[in-house]
Subunit: 400 residues, 3 copies
């Protein structure tokens, strides 16, 4: 009966993280211009689909196989014993893997071509993400042993502040730079031109779906019901609230900052949610809200990187902050459960960030060189909805 | 404690399938014209309400009672022992029964009268659906015994590809034909006039809600937590992805086809999700995506049947495909768990389809003869929102 | 393993009630005018955030501490043993506490100032709500003992018809009156001027989210999985349907009444969902639908109280009805499980209502005297979105 409960546990976790992909779709659709809403939603949905294929046939084996490119045998069986726990475990892990292209999508939206984006998704979810995932989460790899011997602890990333979010956010850096800014975003005379979002209620809906689903992302990362902890739940809650409230104040009541601030707190708490004190979680989330608002301004307005949804500060910087913060607030001195060291968290985080930055430039650079990444000027002007999908978001109205 | 876990298990399943009804509401509201959005949503909600009454007082007894029209005793008690598992089991089964009018609703929308539709819902959920449900899922009926003696196996429909989806989709055939096409849809000179959907984001939201809820529909069909299987989860995932991706390609990036393609895969996998190999599930779903796109075109443009949301191909044809496919991919020769035969699956499926087609013409034909089914020409032109509900979807704006 | 299952159980409950806050946000955003949609959503989100802080540091201690203002020790620990059940229990209870400002929000929307509203939220969730919550749900308080000795039973409010809903709804009475009606709502010559909602689909989405989440609110109020009951699930279902269908008929097909009618039934069944007969639940919900429609008309049009979403009739009056109805339909004479008396239910309900009415006038009256409650005439005319958040709901369009 234990096995049945665990399958139930992970089914709920997987369903909740699957729902988060709807959240990514609405967050993006609300933030882009109306002429790109359909494209945003179709890309998020189909990125999930191609991620499933890539991770099922290649990625999962790379992360957890006994050697590279070996398909993991249990996925090729019916898994009849023990309620086929391994199969739902695959589903749960896939929803994490598929978050990587969903994160990047928010940075490259409004001008990326459809099929080159699919190719990038397949490469990232087959190879890049699983490589780092295996380093950190597959107990058989030597990287953790090396970190432990050098810095006194293994790298602790309970639910993926670094493995998922910093990976996605810093992959987006290369993608956005290789792609270039949306036309009209930055003038040659140095001006920065705001491109206004189309729909705040969609943005808010996306944020709410992500917030709720995140409790599956974090709490079910325990893997089995017997290992679940109420501490993860309360820490996720307090970090979410911390991020929301500091973003409210620092972001001067802006609805985009408030709704994304909640997500910033949740990104940052993934790593240490099982070991930090609740007050530590509040602090980690609160800092993430501030980091997000300032990071967003700096990246978009100072560095002139057209990261449309702010995924580099949201997932990248706040994810890295979460990885490092677990080494600070997780220590017993700060009321945490211990078992972590600052140096391991720093080195493990920087390894992930470095891998993501390099891979982002490499993958998107190679695709740009071979296939091209950008919509034509005409297609971008017309909007990806009509250009790629031959239909607008509100056909009855828009075609009237 | 087992009983408590099972009640928890089915409560989550029932809540997820209840949520699917919100998915039906948004899928329909997004696909119809703006002047019928409110009516679509109110009908889906109140169909659920009337279905509950009909199934509680009559339908459940017909399906699972010891004899027809006998109310099942446990529903009339407090069910205090064993955490009242039977009562939440009723709730779970009801959410399936209520899916039948929700499916039909997408075919008959934009011109159906309100109260005649309620009457059809009550008849279908009291009598027609439970009759077939009892044949297949009530172990006491002789139909399964007969199939087993004739064709070597009982009919296998784990989560309702035929019992729910083909039933709903083929009931819609009679309903749509009895009702007739929307005015202006088909010209006398043979032209087919596109009537454009109002809101793709609502359509996408509906699809996402349905996709997520479907994991409750399928996985929790195990009934008790001890019988849950990760195989059902991964097969549902792969079929969903298969349907989405083939519909993307065959449907040429159309957002309606992509988002409905995911649902086509899920419809088709219900029957065999507990017995087919994951690669088989991918194939079943992939075929369903193709079937949906071509079926949609043929039914609407060749056969000139104005099935607005395409529920006949989506739920009807893909549901029948799922029932038959379980007999192919469920065989041990195809890597499945066996225990099924092609002939039983074919005969069981055709029985359900035949019953649905006949019942659809009979029920909607009788209501048309007695009460009339269609809105007046004037009401249809004005839109059901103002005609039936005295309010439009965006009152502040629309009444300005 | 029991502890793990219970943490899982309450995590799902807490996530579902957290989702209900998204439901409050969309129900409100859809009902207000377009110029106030952003403000509605930001206030609901940030009210949740400030409620978390208030309840974590003060409110929870007041309700369940050994004495007032004593922070409950387990929240300040990691709670490592027994899977930290207490911490997720806090999360679950918080989502109830935070419902109180979310309820009030629907009454005071479109003209409330942002920070005075935050102050009210903090006071109510720190002090007023936990005071009554402790009286009823903390077994250590003497109020229940007194009720038992006077009227033959303790006050039974299983999931908070009175503790949460009547509290929120009747707090809104003072808030709405202290605040005054929206400009133009009531003319000096006695006319009542309708202010039309902006978006029925958002309203419907909010209602659907609330309906689904409510099964977490009610069923998970069992606290531990071993105590869960299918009776709570079926009673919630039938009351929801009862409220929906009577509101449909009495409200003459109005979409606002139908979608809120479902909520009225759910509000009313919280108190007795674990003890009444399913038919009793249908009657309780059906009555609530009628009460809501008539209450809405009387309060808004006769009493000229500008309760925008109708939260006084929906949560206040229907919540009180639910508290009292548990004393009627919960009796063994009515097929219920017994253990309740009409007098205790009446006295307990009136105590909650009285406390809410007095506190509402006191808290909002004091804040009005000190800080002021209302937006300036100019800000109200312009809309809270631009006035408070410097951005409209559809910036691309609205700023064009």
């Amino acid at each position: 009966m234990n096995a049945g409960m665990d399958v139930f546990f992970l089914t709920m976790g997987a369903a909740m993280v699957l729902a988060m992909h709807a959240g990514f779709a609405f967050l993006e659709a609300g933030t882009v211009r109306r002429k790109n809403q359909v494209n945003a939603m179709v890309r998020v949905l189909t990125d999930f689909g191609f991620s499933t294929i890539a991770y099922f046939f290649i990625g999962y084996g790379i992360a957890y196989g006994t050697y590279f490119f070996a398909p993991v045998p249990e996925l090729m069986q019916l898994g009849g014993k023990s309620n086929a726990y391994e199969l739902v475990h695959f589903f749960f892990l896939l929803t994490f893997a598929a978050a990587v292209p969903a994160i990047i999508s928010g940075g490259i939206t409004e001008r990326i071509r459809f099929w080159p984006n699919v190719l990038a998704t397949v490469v990232l979810v087959s190879l890049v993400y699983p490589f780092y995932e295996g380093l950190i989460w597959n107990g058989n790899h030597g990287f953790q042993t090396w970190l432990n011997s050098m810095f006194g602890a293994k790298f602790h990333d309970f639910a993926g502040s670094v493995v998922v979010h910093a990976m996605g956010g810093f992959l987006a850096l290369g993608a956005v730079i290789m792609l270039g800014a949306r036309r009209g975003r930055y003038s040659k005379d140095g001006r920065v031109n705001a491109i206004l979002p189309s729909n705040i209620p969609y943005l808010a809906l996306g944020s709410w779906i992500l917030c709720v689903g995140w409790f599956g992302f974090n709490v079910m990362s325990a893997g089995v019901a017997g290992a679940v902890s109420g501490l993860v739940a309360i820490n996720s809650l307090l970090a979410m609230v911390g991020g929301m409230l500091t973003a409210l104040v620092v972001g001067k009541n802006d609805p985009g900052f408030v709704h994304n601030g909640a997500l910033a707190g949740l990104v940052a708490i993934c790593a240490g949610s099982d070991i930090v004190h609740p007050i530590g979680a509040l602090a980690i989330g609160g800092a993430a809200g501030v980091i997000f608002v300032f990071g967003f301004e700096i990246i978009q307005n100072r560095l002139r990187i057209d990261d449309v949804l702010g995924v580099i500060p949201l997932h990248g910087v706040c994810g890295a902050w979460g990885g490092i913060a677990a080494g600070i607030f997780g220590s017993t001195a700060m009321g945490g459960a211990g078992g972590v060291t600052f140096m391991t968290q720093l080195v493990g985080t920087l390894t992930g960030v470095g891998l993501a930055v390099i891979s982002g430039f490499a993958v998107y650079g190679a695709i740009r060189a071979i296939l091209g990444l950008r919509l034509s000027e005409e297609d971008e002007y017309q909007g990806a909805d009509l250009a790629v999908h031959q239909v607008a978001a509100y056909p009855e109205e828009d075609m009237a």
